[in-house]
């Protein structure tokens, strides 16, 4: 309960911060891809890219560059109004300090195949990143990166695929790995395996208002939930007909609504906090889903990123979908940022 209040408190602080700074416009949809057929000026070849557009049903995407990098993940520092952006790519961490106009690779050859990245929103100098080789952090905004695999003993444990900064305790981190879920109580310095017996975890996410609730998508065993901060886990799969899940999203407007997608799944939706799921795929030309995002303030407007067919949007809260561009895009993440 105490953790719950903390989470709500942080959310309120962020809201207040946004209001005070006037940083509250139409949300922006950011999409990162491993590759696309997008033809940038002079480069009519498949490109990785960061795209953005206002949250709307629109197939015109703005291009923010970073070709040839296989982009896996994006994070944005909210308080700086998007001035600070970071991307996890196969060539390392790319950082922008000017709203994505210019970028710098802040890592060297030691950090490769970086697949997830999270900014500590209260301290943007503190950034966490993961890769198949382990967990990394910087405490000086990317000037220096250090590897922290203490407790991640096996090859599989070091294959980290996603990171959650616990909203109730920013020093508490949870990561998904090929060996299961690992938890750090000291900002990623060391790790202990959680009790989840299932391995090959592809994604971990936290409930937006109840920080005790976490959900994971696995490569072979469907979706699991924890309601006690990651200690005890239970499968919630009523209605689930698939095994591999790469993305799980809580609707920020109503967290009882959850979307999930993965290998050949189309989009699954639950309206009761994950107890029961319904499978929807009307309008989707590609059922491999790696990214889903719900528009803050508009639960009907949902985006889904496919692995090979770009982005689809639903205007009816996931009942049906229509293609809105990024041709042949292998979409790895979609983020909707309120500005």
């Amino acid at each position: 309960m105490k953790r719950c209040f903390k989470g709500v408190g942080i959310a309120l602080i962020l809201l207040l911060l946004q209001t005070l700074t006037g940083f509250s416009k139409e949300p922006t949809v950011y999409v990162v891809t491993l590759s696309t057929s997008y033809a940038h000026t002079g480069m009519a070849i498949p490109l990785s890219a960061l795209f953005y557009q206002p949250a709307a049903v629109d197939s015109n995407w703005n291009y923010l560059g970073r070709p040839n990098n296989r982009i896996y993940s994006l994070d944005v520092h909210l308080a700086s109004k998007g001035k600070i952006m970071v991307m996890a790519t196969h060539t390392g961490v790319h950082q922008s300090f000017d709203f994505g106009k210019t970028w710098k690779v802040t890592t060297d050859w030691r950090m490769t195949e970086v697949n997830n990245i999270k900014i500590n929103q209260q301290n943007p100098d503190l950034i966490y990143a993961s890769s198949p080789y382990g967990f990394y952090k910087t405490i000086d905004g990317g000037k220096h990166w250090t590897k922290h695999n203490d407790g991640l003993e096996s090859i599989d444990a070091q294959f980290v695929s996603s990171i959650v900064i616990d909203a109730a305790n920013l020093n508490r981190l949870l990561i998904s790995t090929e060996d299961g879920v690992y938890i750090s109580e000291n900002a990623g310095e060391s790790w202990e395996r959680s009790n989840l017996s299932i391995r090959n975890i592809r994604i971990i996410v936290q409930h937006p208002t109840n920080p005790d609730v976490f959900a994971v998508g696995t490569d072979n065993n469907g979706i699991y939930f924890s309601t006690d901060g990651g200690k005890v886990w239970a499968k919630r799969d009523t209605g689930v007909m698939h095994a591999a899940f790469y993305t799980i999203i809580f609707d920020p407007n109503d967290p009882e609504i959850i979307y999930a997608g993965g290998f050949q799944t189309g989009v699954y939706k639950s309206v009761d906090g994950g107890k029961k799921w319904k499978h929807t795929f009307k309008g989707l030309d590609n059922l491999d889903i790696h990214a889903i995002a719900v528009t803050p303030g508009n639960s009907n407007l949902v985006y889904a990123g496919t692995m090979g067919n770009g982005v689809y949007v639903s205007e009816d809260a996931g009942k049906s979908w229509q293609y809105i561009g990024i041709k042949n895009g292998f979409v790895s993440e979609i983020k909707i940022i309120e500005e």
Binding site: G42, N68, K104, W109, F159, G308
Partner: protein, 611 residues
């Protein structure tokens, strides 16, 4: 007159036998001939008008119509494409031509390194090329801020990172072995990277490292070279190149640098060829003197295992037996490199380019892909097959398998397979070229083959079936699985021996005419050498006394016993043989040929030749 002719023929035969022809090539003669080969090679490109970096490089190099080179360069700079495969010809063209090109081209070239981001790639050869090229580029434009480079890093940051990586790669290669090792196709990529920094690096340490690494990778090839062919097991090879070895760039390297075989002009070798690097005489000798048969052993490392494994870089054990007529070599087996591994092969002098016999378990799985690639394993097969089209083809001719292990002793090889039901694929295959002079199914159970002066016996431990495979315009197909009809344009390429028994294996015996005498004698001797096999799941084993009287006992996956003594593969050195020797962890390679010696000490960055 007749007597004179006979005496002359006998004299020539004696000289050939003593290998004096090969050894009488003096260093000066070799260098002159090398320069001629290179000049002929360069002419292919410096007379071309094709829009390609090779045309541009050759024209700047030869000073032939550099205005055309400028024009073509500008054309290519307008639309840069590619990763490190773009970087190496691009920066080479700039360095070779910078004193001849127009200011406009120079400006365009500078701009492209600011605005175009080439990918770094994900394999060892990619990184070697990427960092070699980036380092050379930073030396061309030193002291620039990050805003002047495609990755936002300053000239110094890029230089420091590149130098550090190149030294780190050299260290791991000379300590626990190269990861992407002994590849007839990818040898060129390393050769390009190392020879470029040997030639153009301004940093003296990097330059020295480049020369030493070039020596190192060419010496590695030389010890397993047989008349333009890379012998034995490979980390990577493309199937089309496996079938037609001259396509592999290593064959062009053999022609240009070892001075053997048919003239080949793989465009990959143009850049190394126009550098001032000259093959040390000792490496040429090692590559070409096959007057004595020998065993050559190596330890390499598995490509980075990122999941589903116990260690990141387990060792690879490689065993090769070389003679003047043939070479047979094997990796110890298992999944060592994704997709393009060839665990063992026999190559010989006869019937090129189909001058090989080999076998495999054509395995593929999401497990294999997940071990080596970071993407989602379940969706990755489609991505892999987009570029490696035969990956999930049960008829493919390349690929490693966790169900395959080998045991080799000189010219005898045993391969065992223990395949679980449901594994892709549920069969093993043997490749026998159609141009064999003999392919006899002997009553003893041996398949006995003759390829010129090389004789091959193959004893299948379980029954199999034969099929014929044809080519139409070099596109292969199998008569059992294809509906194509012979309209007269297709040519028989090979026979496929397929066995569907999941617990399986075979014994391969190879002898040359010099070693055993007649083919008839070889066939007769095989009759009394029959392997005893146990093909129960989980207990696959074989006991065999070879033609040399050595008893080989092999139990899948890893128990190898020779004449009662267990073979401990962990005893393998990085290199061990008459020519190359290196201890694990030493960072030193010693080359020996008769009274010649060369030492490459990467720890001290010293290169010494003792003649």
């Amino acid at each position: 007159m007749k007597l004179k002719i006979i005496i002359w023929i006998l004299l020539c035969a004696a000289l050939i036998h003593l290998n004096l022809f090969a050894q009488e090539v003096t260093r000066d003669d070799y260098l002159k001939a090398f320069d001629k080969r290179v000049q002929c090679f360069v002419t292919t490109y410096d007379t071309s008008t094709r829009v390609s970096y090779n045309t541009i490089i050759a024209r700047y190099y030869s000073n032939k119509n550099t205005a055309l080179a400028d024009k073509l360069f500008l054309q290519l700079l307008k639309n840069p494409k590619g990763a490190m495969f773009w970087m190496f010809p691009n920066i080479s063209a700039y360095i070779i031509g910078k004193d001849k090109m127009s200011p406009k081209v120079k400006a365009a070239e500078r701009n492209v390194w600011k605005t175009y981001a080439p990918a770094r790639g994900d394999t060892e050869n990619h990184w070697a090329m990427y960092y070699a090229c980036l380092l050379l580029a930073t030396e061309q434009w030193p002291n620039l801020p990050g805003s002047e480079w495609y990755n936002g890093r300053s000239s110094k940051e890029n230089f420091d990172e590149s130098k550090e990586y190149l030294f780190e790669w050299a260290k791991i290669t000379t300590t626990i072995g190269q990861g992407e090792f002994d590849s007839p196709d990818y040898l060129a990529e390393y050769f390009i990277a190392t020879s470029m920094i040997a030639e153009w690096a301004q940093d003296s340490e990097v330059k020295k490292l480049g020369t030493m690494l070039t020596d190192y990778i060419l010496a590695d090839f030389a010890a397993e070279h047989l008349d333009q062919q890379y012998v034995g097991g490979y980390s990577r090879i493309y199937e089309r190149n496996l079938m037609r070895f001259p396509i592999s760039s290593s064959s062009t390297i053999a022609y240009l640098y070892f001075g053997v075989g048919e003239p080949l002009k793989s465009g990959w070798i143009l850049i190394p060829a126009i550098t001032s690097y000259r093959l040390p005489e000792i490496i040429r000798k090692i590559a070409t003197d096959r007057s004595q048969s020998y065993v050559h052993k190596e330890k390499k490392r598995v490509r980075n295992v990122i999941r589903y494994g116990d260690k990141q870089n387990p060792p690879v054990y490689k065993y090769t037996y070389m003679t003047k007529d043939y070479g047979i070599g094997s990796l110890h087996g298992g999944l060592l490199q994704p997709i393009q591994q060839l665990t063992w092969s026999l190559r010989y002098q006869y019937g090129k380019p189909f001058s090989m016999i080999f076998g495999l378990h054509p395995y593929w799985s999401v497990l294999e892909i997940g071990m080596f690639f970071p993407e989602e394993v379940k969706t990755s097969i489609a991505g892999i097959t987009a570029s490696k089209t035969t990956y999930n083809n049960p008829d493919k001719w390349t690929g490693g398998s966790p169900c395959e292990r080998t045991f080799q002793h000189k010219n005898t090889l045993i391969a065992l397979y223990d395949i679980k039901p449901g594994t892709t694929s549920e069969h093993i295959d043997g490749f026998f070229p159609a141009n064999l002079q003999e392919r006899i199914i002997d009553d003893s159970g041996w398949i006995v083959c003759k390829a010129g002066d090389t004789y091959v016996g193959w004893y299948p431990l379980a029954p199999g079936e034969w099929s014929e495979e044809f080519e139409i315009k070099k596109q292969a197909f199998n008569t059992k699985t294809s509906s194509k009809v012979n309209d007269g344009t297709m040519e028989l390429r090979n026979y496929r021996l397929r066995s569907h028994k999941l617990q399986n294996g075979y014994v391969v015996e190879v002898r040359s005419k010099d070693e055993i005498g007649s083919f008839k004698k070889f066939r007769n001797e095989l009759k009394s050498h029959v392997p005893y096999a146990n093909l129960k799941p989980g207990a696959v084993s074989v006991s065999y006394v070879n033609l040399g009287g050595d008893k080989m006992e092999f139990t899948f996956p890893g128990k190898r016993v020779l004449n009662g003594k267990s073979i401990d593969l962990t005893d393998y050195k990085l290199f061990e043989g008459p020519f190359l020797n290196a201890e694990v962890g030493s960072q030193k390679l010693t080359l020996t040929y008769k009274d010649m010696k060369m030492l490459l000490d990467f720890k001290k960055l010293e290169r010494k030749e003792y003649y």
